[in-house]
Symmetry: C2
Subunit: 256 residues, 2 copies
Amino acid sequence: MEQKVVKLSTIRQACSECNLFQLCLPVSLENDDVEMLDQIVQRRRPLARGEHLYRAHDEFNAIYAVRAGAIKTTMLSPEGEEQITGFHLPGEILGLDAISGSRHPCNAIALETTSVCEIPFDNLESLAAQIPGLQHTLLRIMSKEIFEDQEMLYAVAKRTAEERLAIALLSFSERFGRRGLSSRNFRLPMSRTDLANYLGLAPETMSRLFKRFQEQGLLHAEGKEVVLKDMDGLHELARARPVTEKDHRGGRHSKA
Amino acid sequence: MEQKVVKLSTIRQACSECNLFQLCLPVSLENDDVEMLDQIVQRRRPLARGEHLYRAHDEFNAIYAVRAGAIKTTMLSPEGEEQITGFHLPGEILGLDAISGSRHPCNAIALETTSVCEIPFDNLESLAAQIPGLQHTLLRIMSKEIFEDQEMLYAVAKRTAEERLAIALLSFSERFGRRGLSSRNFRLPMSRTDLANYLGLAPETMSRLFKRFQEQGLLHAEGKEVVLKDMDGLHELARARPVTEKDHRGGRHSKA
DNA sequence: CGTAATTTTGACGCGCGTCAAAGCTTGTGG
DNA sequence: CCACAAGCTTTGACGCGCGTCAAAATTACG
């Protein structure tokens, strides 16, 4: 028992906030398993702001867990237009979208000084075959990613700019909260422009939104520092529907 | 060797076009493995159009592979507004977004008479621990789903209505083609309204788009029957950016 | 066949993208 | 520590794509 605790701290050292282990450990890890995990995790020198962790079309070898800082993943259209597909905060994992293609489909760029740990995928995969809890955890993490991407799709497809921002803010709030940080008072790691890009909006729109939210007393923002002042109001917005309250058109799908 | 072929056909019978096996088999399956796989796959009676395969919040027990027909997955906003998060054609798998939450986050509804096979997840998971190829396949499939969801997000966040339709049509084209059906001449399993919903558009817009595409000679449509007449034109549209740019390149982004 | 659901068409308006230009930061070098 | 450049953010003006409303036409299904 006590030995296990020691091992736990070893891991924490290697990959302090890593979701993978956090999710995995509660399940069922023997001491040996922990040791094996510990061995395959690589440390890396921190990335400077703007530095690439990997680029699109790079060969896929490992997934990464953010320890500190933040990373954006982007796709580039043929014309060179950037689309941000995700922000990755401490404790979150990236690179999972590359497994099937064996090359990274997107770029991963540090938004600020960022340290990650690298988890070579081949090793992880063979470990997962040996450790049932680990396999399950891997699948869970990927499933969650799928779910969240779909939620995001939902958000962008059907919501107004206002609603998208509310959703995004609440998402960050929750993610910071989960990490033990304040969920009402945090520093957004990305620029307004990046946030706008992610949400499918123009930077100008984002700027006007922040202004409006501030006027409405929903939040207070100074640069990247944000204080959410009216969580209920934000939740309201995040759930709201585009315009009329009444159902437009009687299409219902309950036939069975 | 010959024995293996026999076993293969056994599987085909149980789950004719199932991606899972299609992707898995090329890897490395022993006869015993095949037999085990065969055993866990469940057949089900076909679903009638409009019938639910599962509902949001249902307990998650299994993933499903579509054998024939088509299924849409939807999320419901608190107000009862439907958002379609995906269409699932024969050979495609659904339910992967439920693993992490242990409940289905969305509804799965048959668009027409549809038969699926059910793959109990617990069994699959323990099999995957025994069969390395299977574990890898599972991870690949999920990774691909993540990638495609992100592509879709990209599409919806940044493209005009026109571009979204072109993208969607080409996606269906490719998926039908992959199944050995015509990639230029097919029957869309969903209503225009559903397609519009999926792409984040109003049904009226969808209707006007089809009309315009037809006028421009891009396609011919009669009800759900569609003939793509100008693949190049569609690809052009799908790649186009709102602003002025006619950069021109044969290179496609590698999918899968 | 009749009724309901879906698709189509036209008119209209608003949200948000685009353009342009003026503040602000942030980072760098002297 | 200041000055300058590059990049962000903000603000205002303006227009258009696409959502909304309304209603007719068509199709699907019991």
